[in-house]
Every structure is written in structure tokens, then in C-alpha cells.
């Protein structure tokens, strides 16, 4: 009844949608299978995209031609560039989103994508023939064939939800779990594990007293995620901040004996970085308050997401304690917070292409690999989609190095180090943070994505225009000589010492605390040179000039250490024969089969002396 496809993507969350879009846009006939077409691109947790390190990832996905950036821009109700007071590596875009508009936009964009079909059904297993994955089996008893399959099951594999002492099967509030896939994959030889995550309660905004909270408005001149200026953000809604108190903590503690977290019913490992409120007051008993972000769910709803108050305590405890938070005295709850446990497959079973080593043709992306976060899921999705499509044409997989993209860092971490708790991206995971900025993801990734056929001509032209502008403005500032008197007002404003003789505009810009905006304002000749260029060009030039030394240092390190990533380890090398390797090193290397010395060096359990053995063995 159903035709066969090049690529089948199972799951329509952030990973699945990006995978389906990428495969289809590359020209593969693609089928997106989801249990519920009503919630394509659901934000299961907080209604926000981006943030520190995550915002950089959304920019990278966008630069590759993915949809997450455009969807987020179109559905944004607030935009903030976080960390503006720090250096450019830390500037991180973040949006609050209209949850329904976000999902609706995803569905519209996917429906407008050629080569992409949809099918609403549950997948109960994959079809493996002669060791290769060639399709999926569904709840309706169908077998749909494909050349490759991408699994993005999120929290649905044997999903089990907990609220206090109650537990029920399901992957998300109101949606049933997916059974059978884990069992089949384990039978095929995969290792599986269990993780958990949680969400906070949602409340009725009409019942809150916002005047008892701090207001957190969006940026005065909001930016956007996408390098394409399709959906500028025009209106914004503020969020609010309030705090828990010792009284709130005491009330929460009263429910601990009925908490699945503390009575041992929850087995999975939760994220240390995004703990539940009961976790926080248990582990940081000396802290007498915790931040609570009050986030609107959208333009046309009064529903509020109580970020920072994630919990799986009984609903009565949740409500009683919450009502002691300033502004929440009369809060009405729409739905309680809950924890969800789900199966994942330790990602060390993957290749860097996200294809499983055990079953060619089978790809994993998103929470199934032990990550947490929409952005982490989306970037795996786009890579899995690209590589699943390319494999159907016998093309080499596309991977990124750690100095090329956060996506490269994330996938390399997963594949070489694995993860035992939900993996979230941090900027400190990247060795070359200054190179992987949110402002240059287009320069880093778009040309390659354009060559692949994923990034549109429109994107490439936008990049070329930006680069031309950057080059011309840099030349302009290099040539432009500023006399001391002209520079004085701008320097005084920046509390920088006056010039003794005329210097080039570029040199003035490289001083600490001097900004191009201030120079434009006070120096007419600078204003003139800058006038033809847009804000992206000005920002890019300012970053390049001000942080030149740091960028050069990291680039130098990346070049030197990157050499290890070019030293290939033969695929047929039998690590067990290298008796000089430590026992653990031999096990880990045989298990992970690193392609390069660089990958080997990052596998935990491979010691420096193991690496020396490999180095000398490979004739270094």
C-alpha cells in the first residue's frame, strides 16, 4: 500500500523534523512517521530555544540549511542575546516561543518541503535483512521499506511518567509510549540504558500577581536566529523572575517520602545541569532560595511555564509549595510537573555519521542517544538526515571537526566518550570556543552545506554579500587615518587615553572598551566608511578586529592539535594484538574503533601512554 523510500525518519520532534527536512532537501524520497501528526515539532519542555552554547547550535543548524532557526524566529515572543557583557564566544541568542505557533510553523515548513511524505502510525520495530536496516514495521501491521532509517524516538521508548506515587506509561503528557523497539534492538546486540528528565507545572497566568516579580524584557533591538532575514521579531512579551523561599522548601520536603526521586522508584539518571526543584533543595541544602522563571506559553494563551520548578512530587505538594512563591499566592494549576523515564542507547555504539556500527543503514538522533535539549536533538537530526540520504547514494558521510562546529564537538563527545547522564552542550566542552561563535556559523558551515545541496543559493548569496562587506569595511578601517582631535570624543566616552598622533581607525577599534558604534557616533569619517554596511557586517568586523589575537591563538592550537585528527588508524587494525596497550585501552579501542589518533585520544579509558603506543605503532 505504501511505496518504498530512500529514507524513513521515525519521530517528528526536533531531531526527526530536521532529519526529514535535510534528507528530503538533498533529494532523497523521505517518509516521516509519527504517532501523532497533531504535534509535529512539539516543545515538550520549556517554550524557548537557544541559550548559552545551545543558541550557537541553532545558528549552526540554520547555517546548514536546517529549519529550527526560521521556525524559532517566526514563533518568537521574545528575543535576548545572552552574555553581551562577555566576549563574543559567549554571546548566545535565545528566544521565548509561542509553543503552538512553533509546532504549527514546523508543520507548515515540512509540508512545503518537496520529496517529503508523512504517515501517522507507531513504529514497533525495524526491518533488518542481511545485517542491514531496510525498513520499519508499524502498529497497523505494515512493513515500509527504505534504504536507511533514522530513529528519533525521544523520550518515548518505554516511556514511564511519574507524578508522586502515580506512574503511567507515556512519552509526554497525554501521549502514549512506544514499545517494542528497545527489545528488538537489544536482541540485535545493542546496549540500552535508562535516563530520566522532568518538567515543571504549568499554571494559569490570570491567577498570578506579576507585580510581585521582577520583569525580564526582551532586547530593545532584537536579533534573530536565522541568517536569512525572513522573520524579523517585531513584538515581544516580557518574562518574569521570582524566587523560592525556605518556606517553599519546607513544604516541598514534606512530600519527599512520596517522591519517586527519593523512594527509589525512578531508576534513570537525570541531568545534573537541569535538576528538579527537589533535587536542588536536597543537594544544596544551604541555599535558601532558587530562581524561578515565569515564561508565557504564547501570544494567545494565558498558560505559563514555571521554569526552574521542575518536579515529580505529588501534585498537591507541588501546588501547596508553589503558592508560597511571591506572585503565586493564588496560582491555579493547569497541569502538574512530572518526570519521565525512557530508554536510550549509549552513543558509543555510533559512528561519527550517527549510523550505528552494528546495523548499517540504521541511524540514531536526539534523546535516543542520551542527549537533552531541543537544540542538541535538532543538530543530530540534521546530520543523521544528511548522512542517511547520502548513504543511499553511496556517498561519504559528512562530519565536522571539533574546531569547525559545536555539532562536531557534540557528536565527537557522544561517539568517543559516551554519556551516562543526559548530555547538554556547554561552551566549555569546545576546545576552540572563540572560533565557534554564533556570529560566524554561516562562514564556517554554509559554503559546505551549499556544495552538498542543502543550503539554498539564497543563503550562499547572503553569506557572500556579508563577506564582501566585511572585507571592504576592514580595508576601509585599515586605510582610514584618524587625527587625535577627531578621535578624542570617542576615546573619552570609552575612558581610553587620547592619541598622541594620527592612527588608523582599525587601531582605535582594537582598544579595549572602544566600540564601532561609539566611533561611528563621534567620528564622521568612520560613520562614512560604515554607512553602506548592515549590522551583521559591522558586528563581524568589530569582532575580527577586537579579538584578532585570541582568534589567532586558538586557530594556531586547533591547527597544531588538529594534526592528530588527520592521522588515520587503519580500519582493520586489531587493537587486541597491540599487547603494549593497557587492558582497558585495548577494550575501549576495539569497542569504539576510532578512525583517527585524535578520536582515540578523546576516548575515556585510553591513557596518554596508550596513545603513545598507537602513535609509535603508526610510525609517528
Amino acid at each position: 500500500m505504501i511505496q518504498s523510500y530512500d529514507v524513513i525518519v521515525v519521530g517528528a520532534g526536533h531531531a526527526g523534523n530536521e532529519a526529514a527536512a535535510a534528507a528530503a532537501n538533498l533529494g532523497a524520497s523521505t517518509l516521516l512517521v509519527t504517532m501523532n501528526m497533531g504535534v509535529v515539532g512539539q516543545m515538550s519542555c520549556n517554550p524557548a530555544m537557544g541559550g548559552i552554547a545551545k543558541g550557537q547550535i541553532v545558528r549552526e543548524v540554520d547555517a546548514l540549511g536546517g529549519y529550527s532557526g526560521l521556525v524559532s524566529d517566526k514563533s518568537a515572543i521574545q528575543f535576548r542575546m545572552l552574555n553581551k557583557s562577555k566576549g563574543p564566544a559567549m554571546w548566545s541568542p535565545r528566544t521565548q516561543n509561542d509553543r503552538n505557533l512553533f509546532a504549527q510553523t514546523w508543520r507548515e515548513m515540512l509540508e512545503a518541503t518537496p520529496n517529503l511524505d508523512f504517515w501517522q502510525d507507531g513504529v514497533v520495530g525495524v526491518v533488518v535483512e542481511q545485517g542491514r536496516c531496510v525498513g520499519v514495521r508499524t502498529n497497523l501491521g505494515m512493513t515500509i521499506r527504505a534504504k536507511s532509517v533514522v530513529l528519533t524516538n525521544g523520550t518515548f521508548l518505554n516511556g514511564l511518567m511519574h507524578i508522586g506515587e502515580k506512574q503511567f506509561g507515556g512519552g509526554r503528557a497525554g501521549e502514549r509510549a512506544s514499545m517494542g523497539i528497545t527489545e528488538q534492538l537489544v536482541e540485535l546486540g545493542f546496549d540500552s540504558g535508562r535516563m530520566k528528565t522532568g518538567t515543571p507545572p504549568r499554571v494559569d497566568g490570570r491567577s498570578l500577581q506579576f507585580d510581585k516579580m521582577e520583569e525580564q524584557p526582551g532586547d530593545a533591538s532584537p536579533g534573530r536566529f536565522s541568517y536569512l532575514p525572513k522573520h524579523p521579531i517585531q513584538r515581544q512579551i516580557p518574562c518574569h523572575i521570582t524566587y523560592t523561599s525556605p518556606e517553599v522548601h519546607d513544604l516541598l520536603r514534606e512530600g519527599f517520602d512520596r517522591s519517586p526521586m527519593f523512594n527509589g522508584r525512578l531508576r534513570g539518571l537525570g541531568p545534573r545541569y537541569c535538576p528538579s526543584i527537589e533535587d536542588k533543595i536536597d543537594r544544596f541544602a544551604d541555599k535558601d532560595r532558587h530562581q524561578v522563571f515565569v515564561e508565557p506559553e504564547g501570544w494567545n494563551t494565558c498558560e505559563i511555564y514555571v521554569n526552574g520548578f521542575s518536579t515529580s512530587l505529588p501534585e498537591d505538594v507541588q501546588l501547596t509549595a508553589m503558592r508560597k512563591i511571591p506572585g503565586f499566592a493564588h496560582a491555579k494549576m493547569f497541569r502538574p510537573g512530572y518526570a519521565v523515564e525512557y530508554d536510550y542507547f549509549p552513543p558509543t555504539q555510533l559512528q561519527h555519521s550517527l549510523e550505528t556500527r552494528l546495523v548499517p543503514g540504521l541511524y540514531f538522533a536526539g534523546q535516543i542517544n542520551g542527549t537533552t535539549g531541543y537544540e542538541e536533538a535538532a543538530c543530530q537530526g540534521i546530520m543523521a538526515g544528511i548522512n542517511a540520504a547520502r548513504s543511499t547514494w553511496n556517498k561519504e558521510p559528512i562530519t565536522f571537526s571539533r574546531s569547525q562546529a559545536y555539532i562536531g564537538v557534540l557528536i565527537d563527545d557522544l561517539v568517543t566518550k559516551g554519556t551516562e547522564e543526559p548530555y547538554r552542550m556547554f561552551t566549555s566542552r569546545a576546545e576552540y570556543r572563540i572560533l565557534l561563535r554564533q556570529d560566524n556559523a554561516d562562514e564556517r558551515l554554509t559554503p559546505m552545506a551549499h556544495d552538498l545541496g542543502l543550503a539554498s543559493d539564497e543563503r550562499m548569496q547572503a553569506l557572500e554579500k556579508k563577506l564582501e562587506g566585511v572585507s571592504s569595511l576592514r580595508k576601509g578601517l585599515q586605510k582610514l587615518s584618524i587625527p587625535p582631535a577627531d578621535a578624542l570624543p570617542a576615546l573619552e566616552e570609552a575612558q581610553s587615553s587620547p592619541l598622541k598622533h594620527a592612527v588608523r581607525a582599525q587601531e582605535i577599534l582594537s582598544r579595549p572598551h572602544v566600540h564601532l558604534s561609539g566611533m561611528q557616533e563621534h567620528i564622521p569619517s568612520v560613520q562614512q566608511v560604515c554607512a553602506p554596511h548592515g549590522p551583521e557586517v559591522l558586528e563581524q568586523v568589530e569582532i575580527q578586529v577586537k579579538y584578532e589575537g585570541y582568534i589567532a591563538k586558538e586557530q594556531d592550537m586547533a591547527d597544531r592539535l588538529g594534526k592528530l585528527d588527520h592521522l588515520r588508524i587503519p580500519a582493520d587494525l586489531d587493537f587486541h594484538k597491540l599487547t603494549s596497550l593497557s587492558y582497558e585501552g585495548r577494550q575501549k579501542l576495539s569497542d569504539r574503533k576510532p578512525n583517527t589518533l585524535g578520536e582515540a585520544s578523546r576516548i575515556s579509558g585510553v591513557s596518554p601512554s596508550d596513545l603513545s603506543v598507537l602513535m609509535v605503532y603508526l610510525g609517528r
Binding site: 552574555n83 563574543p88 572563540i434 599487547t579 603494549s580 596518554p608
Partner: protein, 459 residues
């Protein structure tokens, strides 16, 4: 691929004569590798695998045809507890070059391979028995000719240096962790370390790294010899003094002024302390271009020496213009000057007490007063002995420490200028990288090759 390294990981068994080349009472041949016991048994009258670990057996040595070569002892040490981490046999045989050669030949015919330079130590490193600094210390230990160098090498071999570097790395990782915390959790409600804490941590790190880097000058002097320059006008007997100190006809001596045109140097050990004596061209105004160049070099050597011996002649010089002569050398403030009156067998020493410098009278020709000079040198430099403080003697370590120091200084400047944390972190990571280079926790491509090329065969 015929890299000798490859065998270490492939499992070739290696052998080498570990004692000094030539004839001796006893020679030691060492065999290491996974087949050391079976292959060794082929040249020995007893089955080595039946000998207990760390035990010795007496037996006969034979060649491939079964002809007896010698009698001696086999010491069996099984891996991974042996030096190399592999099964090892040490044969003690009689020290005739012929027997040594024949036993080696028999071992090679049995299937062993002649070890390359430093290969035993390299295997110890590859098997994780030594870290990089310890492996380097083994090379220094073998090369140590005097007590100072020996003690430095032993300290390093015991791992003290690596421990200090690792402790520094850990402190730095702790510091970097605080920096990163501020960056990645800026939006969250965590408490950050105050600036004072950052600065205290950094000051401590800088102090420790600085001390280690600074110890290189004296550490290297201890290892290579403390430089002592002999300077003076022509024909004062500088070369005679050098020869007397070395106990050797090292420099050419004649009555013709200006015989020494270039610097001549050699080292010797005085009571366990190593000195490197430098004979220089006589200082005078000259039109001879070659001699002028010699004098330029003499002045340069004097300027870089730890001690300068200003050599005067009791028959030619007075005590009055000594300060002028010293001033003419333009020495750095750190140089110690000693006035040495030569030819004291030919006349009395003029009075020079107004200078307040140590003053020695001696006769390099007869040897009179030489001990007084040696004692004065020891007195000066014993005080600089580092006792059991850690001292850096290796150029590679010194360079890495200097780079780390530079990066840490940038971190400090950055913090004091309120540079954003993500930029400060770049330098903190650089500093970590450089410290890691020392112990091998970070791999720079060519470290290994460089280190292992500095070993002699048999170790």
C-alpha cells in the same frame, strides 16, 4: 613498516649488552620481550620459565650449535613488574669482548633483535612504567658523572618533578573550572568565586611555575657544570691554570703572548660539584683581526660565567689597577669575581685587600695553592646548591614552563583589565596545554622521538 617502535607493540624480543663496551670483569646482557624466557632458554642450560620471578640461576651458555661459551648467572624478572614491563632476563657473563659478542650472536640466532638506543626505557614508557619526565631522568642518570647531576636525575626519576607538574595542572584545572563556571552558568543562580580568590590562585600558580622555570639556570649549571671563566692579560698563565685544574694538557701552553686565540673549555668535578672551566684569549689592544675576535669571545664568556677568575701575575702586575681591569670586563651584577695571583713561587703577592674580593695566590706550574682555589670555588657554589628543592634541568621542560608562565601572565593581565572570561580562558587553556606537554598528558607530535633519541644502547 620497519620502525623499531613497531616491534615494541608487536612484541619483538630485544637484547643488548647493558654494561660498558670493551673488556671487563663481568658483562650484563639484557633480554626483554614477551618471548624473553623461551628465547633466552635457547642459549642457557636451564629452562628460564621454570625459574621463580626475581630469582637467579647458575648455568652454562651455549651457541646455536650447542657449543659451550661461558658459565654465568641468569636473573629472571617477569612482566609487568619488571623495568620494561615485559618479561626480562639479565645474563651475567664474563666480560671478555669475545664472549659478549658470541652470546649476543646466539641470542640473535635464537630470534631476538639487537635493541636500538634507549629501547628498554622506551618500552618501560610504552608500558606505562615510567612517565615522560621519568624516562628523561633515566637518560640523565646514566649520563650523570657527578653527585649534583646524579641527585637531580634521581629526584626526577622518583617522580617528584612529574608530581609537582601534575599538582600544578590540577590547581590550574581548578582555576579554569571556576572561569568556565562563570561562563556556562551565567544565566543560572550560582555563586561565583570573587576576584580576590582568582588572583590568589593565579599568584600561587605563577610563583610555583616561575620558581621551576628560574631553577633551570642553576639546574642546568649543576648538570652541565658551573661556568668559570679564566680571564686576564696575555701570558699570565691562563692556559697553564686550566690544565692544572683539569689535570690534563688541554690547552696549548707557550711563552709567546697570545698563544690562546679562541676559548678552550672543559669540565671537571670537584668534590661532587661539576665545574666547566673556560680558558680565554689574553686581553690586550691588538690590530690582529683573529686575536681581536678571540678577545671579543673572551669577554662574552666572562659575561656569561658564574664565576670569573681574574688572573694576575705577581711578577708583572700591581694591586692598584685591579678595579679598572674588572670594570673593563663589563660583567653583569650576578657574576662573582675572584682575584687569582699566579706564579707565587716567583715573588710575593701585592696588597689587594682594599677590593674586598676573594683573593688566592697559587702557582699553576708547581700546583701550590691550587687546593685553596678549589675550596674557594666550592665555598662559593655550595651555597647555591638547591638541596632537595625541585630543579629543572631539561631544556624541553624549561621551554614548556616558560610558555606556561607567559600564558598565566596573560591570564593575570586579562583579569586585572577586566577582559571577558571567554578570552581569559583561552590563555588558561594554553597554560594547561603547556604543562601537559611536560608529562606527556598532551601530545605534541615530536616529543617522543626527541626524547628517545637521547639514549645510549642497552638502556
Amino acid at each position: 613498516m620497519n620502525s623499531p617502535f613497531r616491534d615494541a607493540v608487536d612484541g619483538a624480543t630485544i637484547c643488548a649488552i647493558s654494561t660498558a663496551p670493551g673488556a671487563g670483569g663481568i658483562a650484563v646482557i639484557r633480554v626483554s620481550g614477551k618471548d624473553a624466557l623461551p628465547l633466552g632458554s635457547k642459549v642457557f642450560s636451564k629452562a628460564l620459565n621454570e625459574i621463580n620471578d626475581r630469582s637467579i640461576a647458575f648455568g652454562k651458555f651455549k651457541d646455536a650449535k650447542g657449543i659451550m661459551l661461558d658459565e654465568g648467572i641468569a636473573l629472571v624478572m617477569r612482566g609487568p613488574g619488571s623495568y620494561t614491563g615485559e618479561d626480562t632476563v639479565e645474563f651475567n657473563i664474563h666480560g671478555s669482548p669475545y664472549i659478549q659478542r658470541e652470546v649476543m650472536q646466539a641470542l640473535i640466532e635464537a630470534g631476538c633483535r639487537q635493541a636500538g638506543p634507549g629501547e628498554f626505557t622506551q618500552r618501560a614508557f610504552l608500558h606505562g612504567r615510567l612517565d615522560l619526565t621519568q624516562a628523561e631522568a633515566v637518560a640523565d642518570l646514566i649520563a650523570a658523572e657527578h653527585a649534583g647531576a646524579h641527585r637531580l636525575a634521581i629526584d626526577q626519576l622518583r617522580g617528584g618533578f612529574a608530581r609537582e607538574i601534575n599538582a600544578l595542572r590540577e590547581a590550574l584545572i581548578g582555576f579554569a573550572g571556576l572561569l568556565e563556571l562563570e561562563l556556562d552558568f551565567a544565566e543560572e543562580d550560582v555563586e561565583f568565586a570573587d576576584r580576590q580568590r582568582f588572583d590568589d590562585l593565579l599568584a600561587d600558580l605563577l610563583k610555583r611555575v616561575g620558581q621551576l622555570a628560574d631553577s633551570f639556570a642553576s639546574g642546568n649549571a649543576l648538570k652541565e657544570g658551573i661556568p668559570v671563566a679564566i680571564v686576564g692579560a696575555p701570558n699570565r698563565g691562563k692556559s697553564t691554570l686550566l690544565n692544572a685544574l683539569l689535570g690534563d694538557e688541554r690547552a696549548i701552553v707557550s711563552d709567546i703572548p697570545g698563544t690562546t686565540r679562541d676559548t678552550v673549555e672543559d669540565a671537571c668535578t670537584i668534590d661532587g660539584l661539576r665545574f666547566r672551566f673556560i680558558d680565554t684569549a689574553g686581553l690586550r689592544d691588538t690590530k690582529d683581526q683573529i686575536e681581536a675576535e678571540g678577545i671579543r669571545r673572551a669577554l662574552a664568556k666572562a659575561a656569561s660565567a658564574a664565576t670569573v677568575l681574574l688572573l694576575l701575575d705577581v711578577t708583572q702586575d700591581s694591586g692598584e689597577d685591579i678595579q679598572d681591569r674588572i670594570d673593563a670586563l663589563s660583567l653583569p651584577d650576578t657574576a662573582q669575581v675572584m682575584v687569582v695571583w699566579n706564579k707565587c713561587d716567583l715573588g710575593p703577592k701585592p696588597n689587594d685587600s682594599s677590593l674586598g674580593l676573594p683573593s688566592i695566590e697559587l702557582s699553576a706550574a708547581t700546583g701550590a695553592g691550587m687546593d685553596a682555589l678549589r675550596n674557594e670555588l666550592l665555598k662559593q657554589h655550595r651555597a647555591n646548591d638547591h638541596g632537595h628543592q625541585l630543579v629543572v634541568t631539561n631544556l624541553r621542560h624549561f621551554e614548556a614552563l616558560t610558555s606556561a608562565q607567559k600564558a598565566l601572565q596573560s591570564v593575570r593581565n586579562g583579569l586585572s583589565q577586566d577582559t571577558p572570561g571567554d578570552l581569559v580562558a583561552v590563555d588558561a587553556r594554553l597554560a594547561l596545554h603547556h604543562l601537559g606537554e611536560i608529562t606527556g598528558a598532551v601530545h605534541a607530535d615530536d616529543i617522543l622521538g626527541h626524547i628517545f633519541s637521547h639514549f645510549c644502547i642497552g638502556k
